[in-house]
């Protein structure tokens, strides 16, 4: 097939035309690409640059070291312990199963731990270290280090975790820390980003919780460069955080330990308080529990045991418990009547063993009655009828007003959990609460701390301290936050005539130091440490007329939870008061027999440096006390630390 030259020319021209068209289209498209490029790289560059930075840079928090909690002399109550653990990194390990099997020969590993490790490993990237076992002993960690060549990808690690070296002594006061729960987060309006860190621990109850803001400190941050799978490439910069402040409590760890041990396995609480500045020296609640269990995550068995115990070890009885104060309330009634001018110190009342009122018979604890008594004799013998009588003369509102002035029915603000307000009833309260009018019978019951009156051991200690010092001293638990001392502040006067206070104080001395006083057996023999106090026994059941007729059943014959509460309040030295003490033993029986000896031991321990000297006890009790002291399981007292040191 031949083509003419003209044909060829024409065809070539057509091809050229079309080639030029194609070329033009291509130039146009390249221009579009260029324009798009310009749009993205010049106009929108800033936006994309930001996105690239966001991709690249990750901000990590550096958790601050939690502040320590120390006793008044700087001894460690809550510290940070090194938690030894072993981690495994998949990408460095090679054959995971072989290495895990080898690791199990070196340190004890349960099947459960291995299972959890495998599961975690499947979920996470290969470069993320997974905790195989924690809370290891130093020996185990050393064993892992020694066997390192056989364990590729397995590394020993050290982290910080909360530890309470004094175990149960401060479980109720200081509380414990635990992992952040959803409930914790929901409570906060603007949660600290720290709380999002897995395994971060915050205070759950007690001082740990209520002083969380001081203890936690501020997190530092580090900016790190990460790649697309989140592996850290390098650290760009870091800002160190601020460690939490150390908190120094007013409590003396040795006294606390002694009191806690003295309460033993009783369901009981005791508070020792400085009457001059309100420093709480001991705040004990028994039985106690090991807060360290909660830090590591308490097992179901342990938790069930705590919950199932009828002595309620988890309850902080010293501030949370609300008990009828019984006869320990009689000082309030007396002071109310004296201040109201309803009686004088010399006013006498006749006690035949009961008071007849409105067709009802109110009994005195002493079957035959106390005969004719004035204030001192009435308190010394704890005559109920005397107080039934003077309470009616004073009226409930004045009694309640006096109770509140002495710190009852008032919430004392301390960094502790579940602080009870108690109940200091008056006419308005009953109308409000029970929609009923106040009756004289209610006053009679209240006059001896029964009926509606409820108080916590802390409130009783405050009451005693105020009576002893004549000032409106308030309890305090924190002595210093970091380097800053917490000032005591001015303590307002109580506003009670000194003459009336002295009358009550002298009566309280008589209770313990005069023959026939209800707490005579628990006196302190050492004149320099003279003890003043008042016993109390509060009923937790009603005694029916028939039972009273046939003779009141002895406490020992009742089941434990129906026995009377034993109470005692006191202060020493009576001549120049330093400490006030209150003791409540739930269902302990009589205040004089059970609570008073504990209170004496506690206050003697606070007054002396070391175990109470036997010379302080009456001569005929010293042998018994010596045996008792020998049998107490006390921690060896640690020397006071001048400066706080970090664990």
């Amino acid at each position: 097939m031949r083509r003419t030259a003209r044909d060829t020319e024409a065809n070539a021209r057509k091809v050229t035309r079309r080639a030029l068209f194609l070329g033009g289209a291509q130039v146009a498209f390249i221009a579009v690409l260029g324009a798009r490029m310009r749009y993205m790289q010049v106009e929108e560059a800033e936006r994309y640059r930001l996105l690239a930075e966001e991709n690249r840079i990750n901000i990590r928090l550096i958790p601050p070291t939690r502040g320590l909690i120390l006793d008044r002399r700087g001894r460690l109550i809550a510290g940070n312990e090194q938690n030894y653990r072993v981690v495994i990194t998949r990408e460095e390990t090679g054959d995971v199963e072989t290495v895990l099997a080898k690791l199990a020969e070196v340190i004890p590993l349960t099947a459960e731990m291995l299972d959890r490790t495998r599961k975690e490993m499947d979920r996470r990237s290969a470069f993320v270290p997974i905790v195989v076992a924690d809370w290891l002993r130093w020996d185990d960690l050393a064993a892992v280090a020694v066997n390192a060549p056989a364990l590729p990808g397995v590394n020993p690690e050290v982290g910080l975790s909360r530890r309470y070296p004094l175990v149960g002594d401060f479980a109720h006061v200081v509380g414990y820390v635990g992992p952040v729960s959803d409930a914790d987060l929901a409570e906060l309006e603007d949660p600290d980003p720290l709380l999002q860190i897995p395994k971060f621990q915050i205070g759950k109850i007690g001082v740990e919780r209520w002083m969380e803001a001081d203890l936690r400190g501020r997190s530092g941050t580090k900016r790190i460069e990460v790649n697309s799978v989140g592996r850290v490439m390098r650290e760009l910069d870091r800002q160190d955080g601020v460690a939490g402040a150390d908190i120094r409590l007013t409590i003396d760890a040795d006294v606390q330990n002694f009191v806690q041990a003295r309460l033993g396995e009783e369901s009981a609480a005791a508070v020792v308080m400085d009457v001059a500045n309100g420093d709480l020296i001991a705040v004990a609640s028994a039985p106690s529990f090991d807060p360290n269990l909660f830090v590591r995550g308490i097992s179901q068995t342990d938790y069930s045991a705590l919950i199932g115990n009828d002595h309620r070890p988890l309850a902080n009885k010293s501030v949370q418990g609300a008990y009828p104060p019984g006869s320990t309330f009689k000082m309030v009634t007396a002071l109310a009547a004296l201040e109201a001018g309803a009686i004088t110190e010399q006013t006498t009342v006749h006690c035949p063993g009961f008071l007849e009122f409105g067709g009802r018979r109110f009994h005195c604890w002493k079957h035959g009655g106390h005969g004719t008594v004035a204030l001192e004799a009435a308190l010394k013998g704890s005559c109920d009828v005397y107080f039934y009588d003077i309470a009616q003369r004073a009226g409930i509102d004045r009694i309640a007003e006096m109770g509140r002035r002495l710190g009852l029915g008032v919430r004392h603000d301390l960094p502790m959990s579940a602080i009870s307000e108690g109940v200091m009833p008056d006419k308005a309260w009953k109308r409000d609460r029970h929609k009923a009018e106040w009756r004289i019978g209610d006053t009679i019951n209240a006059s001896i701390g029964q009926g509606y009156v409820l108080t916590s051991p802390l409130q009783l200690a405050v009451m005693t301290a105020r009576i002893a010092s004549g000032t409106a001293v308030s309890p305090r638990l924190v002595r210093a936050i970091g380097d800053r001392e917490v000032p005591v502040g001015t303590i307002p006067p109580l506003g009670i005539a000194p003459r009336h206070l002295r009358a009550v104080q002298e009566a309280m001395v008589a209770v313990m130091n005069a023959q026939g006083g209800t707490a005579w057996a628990s006196r302190i023999a050492d004149e320099a440490m003279l003890f003043a106090g008042k016993t109390g026994t509060s009923q937790v059941r009603n005694i029916s007329a028939s039972e009273r007729a046939s003779g009141v059943i002895k406490n020992e014959q009742l089941p434990w939870n129906r026995r009377d509460h034993a109470l005692f309040v006191g202060y020493a030295p009576a001549t120049a008061p330093r400490y006030a003490v209150s003791v409540v033993v739930e269902h302990g029986g009589g205040g004089s027999a059970v609570a008073a000896p504990i209170a004496r031991d506690a206050i003697l321990r606070a007054l002396s440096d070391g175990l109470p000297p036997l010379s302080a006890y009456p001569a005929n009790q010293r042998t018994t006390i010596e045996t008792q002291q020998k049998n107490m399981k006390l921690r060896k007292p640690e020397p006071a630390a001048a400066e706080s040191s970090r664990a």
Binding site: A12, R18, G23, N55
Partner: protein, 379 residues
């Protein structure tokens, strides 16, 4: 023109041919390939391994191959076009049955040490075949239906074979490369209008048939279209590549973050950073200036091809040069549209920059043919 006619006109022969090579084009290719080496070195974190060095070796081998082919008379190439086309189709059939499976698609075949992707080879042999066809065909018959049907079949057979591999990107390039040759050969514009209309219909049915047993794309290809239309719907899944690629590109700014300073590629946010998405690294590290320079170099390469085509008096050479130039253009146009978020993600590499053996060799063969046409052009 016949062999005789070539002899009559002054065509360089023997060793003198080297002087008549299009050295400007050679220089351009070296320049573009060098940018590729630089980027492969950078994405490997400043290392010749595993990408830059093999790529350099391939390019060197490719250059030798190009010079060798440039020495082959263009009429010989024309005469061999039919054979080359036939062999390519057979190879495509072969990979269909014996090919290795990679990325969920059958794409290559192992011949000794060479890992060959026949679909890549097909791009050049198809253009050769069509150019030879139109050279042979009486120009007056160009637009007659029967004579239009033949090249359509020639295009359709390999396109279909590539599509069922499935390799949408290459199928697209074959289709467009073939269409470009037909257009240049002077096929009536009516046909193109009709095809455009049909194409619109096909796209419509593509979406209406989705989810039915008759859907003609794979699910992953549908998803790619979805994410192209709105990448933010799946930022951590299929949309991730597109979003990260655009972030890399945009964050380069005017002058870039500097060589080896691209955070997106160095920290592995970029997908396929050494293959299909290598342009994003270039744009990130050298900015608009660098990226636009590459675009200009590409433009010049295409310009050389088309200019050479227009200068040529030989119909086969003309059509071949236009076809190769257009195929080259489609490569980069599809790839760049894809990384800039103007087209869905289809597996098309960026010529001379993306890491890959078959593409490099086939491109060098193509430019060898371009050089041959240039050298053996009657002067």
């Amino acid at each position: 023109m016949s062999f005789l006619e070539y002899q009559i006109k002054t065509v360089p022969g023997g060793i003198r041919k080297i002087l008549y090579l299009n050295w400007g084009l050679v220089l351009l290719l070296v320049a573009v390939a060098s940018m590729g080496f630089l980027m492969l070195y950078s994405v490997a974190g400043g290392s010749l391994q595993p990408w830059a060095e093999p790529q350099m070796k391939r390019f060197a081998a490719g250059l030798v191959l190009m010079f060798a082919i440039a020495m082959v008379p263009i009429w010989f190439i024309r005469n061999m076009a039919g054979v080359a086309y036939g062999v390519s189709v057979l190879l495509l059939l072969a990979v269909e049955f014996f090919g290795e499976v990679g990325m969920g698609a059958q794409r290559w075949i192992d011949i000794g040490p060479l890992r060959l992707q026949p679909s890549e080879l097909m791009k050049i042999t198809l253009v050769m075949m069509l150019a030879a066809y139109y050279d042979w065909l009486d120009t007056r018959k160009t637009s007659r239906p029967l004579w239009v049907l033949i090249p359509v079949v020639l295009i359709a057979v390999p396109t279909a074979l590539v599509l069922i591999q499935p390799n949408l990107g290459t199928a697209l390039l074959l289709l467009m490369g073939g269409a470009a040759v037909m257009f240049a050969a002077g096929v009536s514009l009516w046909y193109f209008g009709a095809v455009a209309a049909l194409g619109a219909g096909a796209i419509a049915s593509l979406f209406t048939l989705r989810g039915t047993p008759w859907q003609f794309l794979h699910d992953y290809q549908y998803r790619r279209i979805d994410t192209f239309l709105d990448p933010t719907t799946d930022p951590l899944g299929a949309g991730y590549n597109i979003i990260q690629a655009q972030i890399a590109l945009g964050s380069g700014g005017w002058s870039g973050k500097g060589f080896m300073q691209g955070t997106q590629s160095r920290l592995n946010f970029l997908p396929e950073k050494h293959t299909d998405f290598i342009f994003t690294t270039l744009a990130e590290e050298f900015g608009f200036i660098g990226a636009f320079s590459l675009l200009l170099l590409y433009g010049l390469i295409i310009f050389f091809c088309l200019a050479s085509a227009i200068q040529s008096k030989d119909r086969f050479s003309q059509l071949l040069l236009i076809g190769i130039g257009c195929t080259f253009f489609f490569y980069l146009a599809v790839n760049l549209s894809m990384v800039m978020g103007m087209a869905p993600v289809v597996g098309v590499p960026l010529p001379f920059l993306s890491y890959g053996g078959s593409v490099m060799l086939v491109l060098m063969v193509a430019f060898g043919v371009v050089q041959s046409a240039h050298v053996h052009r009657p002067r």
